[in-house]
């Protein structure tokens, strides 16, 4: 077996998710190559070369791959896929954007959001917002798979794989990058944080999200939100946790003013310990919370911050 892992980049650097995808590749077994594609991505390639279990890193460094636009990235993967039995990417917005193109052009199915590996052709994936787990077997010659990174513990970074340049350059006349507005934050990434504190509609407005800041600072937590809080404009879209937002599984998840709709639970119910703070003692979030505190968040949050 030979596996190609498409690396995730975050502002030109290797994203933490890639180490989880390599772990998934390890569970499948075989040679593991990592593809780093973008513009000026040498540093990311060097980080990828350190990941345990990687045989080699292939780098496609060219302006056409800048911002990892779907059309050139898909075409590049089609060029390279012939050498592999499996192509993997994380179920990030990049992996989701690019991998189905490879699958379609190779006339194979894609398995999305895989969270478990049974064998080289049989995988577990969540369906219906994680309310059922399907075991699926693929008889396609090439397996194209996106990985739910919370399902696999990251590999270590004590390796030293060789780095090799890929000279394939594709053309792209159909799409172009216009601009990006990236959220700037000193906090850990939502997907990788050990502690996440999320606010919902109960927070009332964006200003009140500041009540979570002090607690997040003390706990080294990332801050998330429910869809309702994002839709209402309290916070930006990249903070949404849930079926159609980000999937998190931290050691500690604190839900504040969130009712616990199935779409929200789908994004956080694999957290190790869940705390819910809600004024409605019947809120469904309490059915999944290890510790529930019934009360007004505007009183509880300042007290919690001062006592931590």
């Amino acid at each position: 077996m030979s596996i190609l892992v498409l690396a995730d980049l975050h502002e030109g650097q290797l994203a933490g998710t890639t180490a989880h995808v390599v772990a998934a590749a390890q569970a499948i077994g075989g040679d593991i190559d990592v593809l780093v594609a973008g513009e000026e991505v040498q540093a990311a390639a060097e980080s990828a070369a350190k990941l345990d279990a990687v045989s080699k890193v292939r780098v496609a460094d060219n302006a056409v791959y800048a911002h990892q636009l779907a059309e050139p990235m898909g075409a590049l993967l089609v060029e390279l896929a012939g050498d592999y039995t499996h192509v993997l990417a994380s179920a990030s917005t990049t992996g989701k954007n690019v991998l189905p193109r490879l699958a379609a052009l190779k006339d194979v199915s894609q398995l999305s959001d895989v969270l478990g590996v049974e064998s080289a052709d049989t995988f577990l994936r969540p369906i219906y917002a994680g309310n059922a787990i399907a075991t699926v077997k693929s008889d396609d010659a090439l397996k194209v798979i996106t990985i739910r990174t919370t399902g696999f513990d990251a590999v270590g970074a004590s390796g030293s794989a060789p780095i090799e340049a890929v000279d394939t350059v594709v053309e792209n006349t159909q799409s172009s990058f216009v601009k990006e507005e990236l959220a700037k934050s000193d906090r850990p990434e939502l997907g990788g944080a050990k502690v996440v504190i999320s606010g919902g509609r109960g927070m009332g407005n964006g200003e009140n999200f500041k009540l979570l800041d002090g607690i997040a600072d003390k706990l080294g937590a990332a801050i998330g939100a429910s869809r309702a809080a994002v839709d209402a404009g309290f916070v930006p879209n990249d903070m949404q946790v849930g079926q159609t937002g980000k999937i998190v599984a931290p050691d500690l998840y604190i839900a504040v003013g969130i009712s616990g709709a199935i779409q929200h639970l789908a994004g956080m119910k694999d957290s190790k310990v869940i705390v819910a703070i809600n004024k409605d003692d019947e809120a469904p979030i309490f059915q999944v919370a290890d510790y529930g505190l019934v009360g007004d968040l505007f009183e509880i949050l300042p007290e919690l911050e001062s006592k931590l």
């Binding site: 379609a104 059922a132 787990i133 799409s175 879209n237 310990v273 705390v275 006592k307």
Partner: protein
Amino acid sequence: MKILVAVKRVIDYNVKIRVKADHSDVDLTNVKMAMNPFCEIAVEEAVRLKEKGVATEVVAVTVGPKTAQEQLRTALALGADRAVHIETDERAESLAVAKLLAKVVEEEQPGLVILGKQAIDTDNNQTGQMLAALTGLPQGTFASEVAVDGDKVHVTREIDGGLQTIALTLPAIVTTDLRLNEPRYAKLPDIMKAKKKPLDVKTPADYGVEVASKVSLLKVESPAERKGGVKVASVDELIDKLKNEAKVL
């Protein structure tokens, strides 16, 4: 410009599904079905583009069993002009759906195709991207804003780090995210009118597309059930439990 919208029949988002006792699949008998919420957003966007004079015609298409015509009628009530039903009782997966949609694109020559970013049953998030690859058209996925400007469309995308705007040459494929718009509700007179709008029925064979897939479903299980824990009476008790019982602080 003509807009093609793909809509899928799925279980209503409020329904909590159950796995069948024999683990062969989930139990969908007598479950309330509806249009996939992301497809509602796709229909709404197409109809708004028509209302703004950017589009001249909106065609809705679905792949699925006879009952999926209910969702096409909903699309027609929301403002689509006509509909195409590709009827199959087989479980058409993303690649097969994308191949069928590619044939419809070839036939209809739309300027824009709008799909949902994911169907809330299988959560695949693939069909639009596959369709783009098969038709050779550019894609703007997870759209929270779509602006047609001459022969280009600017799409603002919800990505993990924030927002990204790209420019695509038309014709193009767009998939919708939650913040693109708030879909309207169908009004009774429109629901009545929708019954008279044209709806063509085709089969995958008409397009020469094989629906069968090389992926088989071996079993379906319920995830490990999470048990509710305890209620604590105060912030002090919460901190104590997190420190000494859960040991996460």
